[in-house]
Assembly symmetry: C2
Homo-oligomer: 231 residues x 2
């Protein structure tokens, strides 16, 4: 299979999934709803007077545990349907700090397997921006992956989110040398970075890649406007 | 955005998701595991002697309901991770009847919105084949979608799975006229069908598209070898 052919195959996968979005959303949501009803029923079963208070307390504790896991599952599957391009990527206000933290968390195992140290530094308070969450998330994912893929064994990839004036700035540094050979033009790195830059810049942001030079590490930098609360 | 550019974008989505497969699998599985534990705890809470038998029966019923939904969710998310190209598509024995039924089920709403009648005819017994479930599923999906997209308003798309000798044969018929114009070379139809054919034929199957002619409807036909139980 040629490189371009594999690009086509991967594109078709996303397109098929997107066309099934209604059914897929339903398939993930409907059991979650069903479990919620079952948990309510369990609570009602021990709510009657005369029920042993200890049994009631234990069932309530179990239902509480299950509800927390269910909420986590619901949140995860929503983010997942959004970021995988299955549901429409609508313009929204979101916490860029959460996106950056989650992105890095998703690659902890990957980094460990490559023996690359991966660090993340995000403000403790939310950093709200407005835009297409899926597109921004993909841009961040692409840059983090590119850093991981290029860092040498024992190297470091560091991700930081900062607030600078009216902008949220994501900086990703790595130890990549300037590539000596020719990159795969259909690879995740070359294609992905180009698309990320196009996306960020067509949505009011700025993206630059500064190669390693003068003793400084390679840096990928994205800046997007903050969405401050009205005072 | 050019057509090819959108192909690249969609391909990157799949590639990013695939790279996060371990983390995504964990994120979907870990809450399911957590809910299972919580349900066990609820059962144990009412198992003690002296618990009101009615309350116990109701909690058991609720847990039973929740477990069924949980099993459904688990199955759905596994199929989903496989078919979306997120987890590796491993060679396995699977029921082609289930794949065909599920595929059609996923497009019932789509068909209704286009006012196309979509029918499915699958044997009542499992039709086992061996191969890459994700690839076969994508080929079937692509053909069903292509039939739906090409059928005129009020038209019919029919999907049938038959066993013929040592082969499982999927036939998809539609009322599509031979296209008058030039198809989008990067569209789901043209690209998808070409890739589906390449996939099916490189895995021991046969795929043909017979255009509408001589009063007969257009037919897309895929044949793959059966995997019979050893006698």
């Amino acid at each position: 299979m040629s490189d371009l052919e594999s690009v086509y195959r991967d594109a078709i996968t996303t397109r098929l999934m997107r066309r099934m979005s209604h059914a897929l959303q339903h398939d993930l949501k409907s059991p979650i709803q069903g479990i919620q009803w079952a948990l309510e029923l369990a609570l009602k079963s021990v709510a009657a007077e005369g029920t042993d208070p200890k049994a009631r307390a234990q069932v309530e504790k179990a239902v509480d545990m299950a509800r927390k896991e269910l909420a986590r599952l619901d949140k995860t599957s929503r983010a997942f349907l959004n970021d995988s391009g299955i549901t429409d990527d609508t313009e929204q206000r979101f916490d860029l700090g959460e996106v950056v933290r989650e992105t890095v968390r998703h690659f902890v195992t990957d980094a460990a397997m490559r023996n690359v140290r991966l660090t993340v530094d995000v403000p403790a308070v939310p950093v709200h921006v407005r835009g297409f969450r899926g597109g921004v998330s993909q841009a961040v994912l692409t840059c983090v992956l590119h850093a991981l893929d290029s860092a040498p064994d024992g190297g470091l990839a560091d991700v930081a989110l900062k607030v600078e004036g009216e902008e949220a700035v994501i900086e990703i540094g790595d130890d990549a040398l300037v590539p000596a050979g020719v990159d795969d033009p259909f690879g995740l790195g070359v294609l992905g970075i180009r698309l990320a830059q196009t996306f960020i810049e067509s949505h009011g942001g700025v993206m630059r890649v500064t190669p390693r030079a003068n003793g400084k590490r390679r840096r990928m930098c994205m800046a997007v406007p903050l969405d401050r609360e009205p005072a």
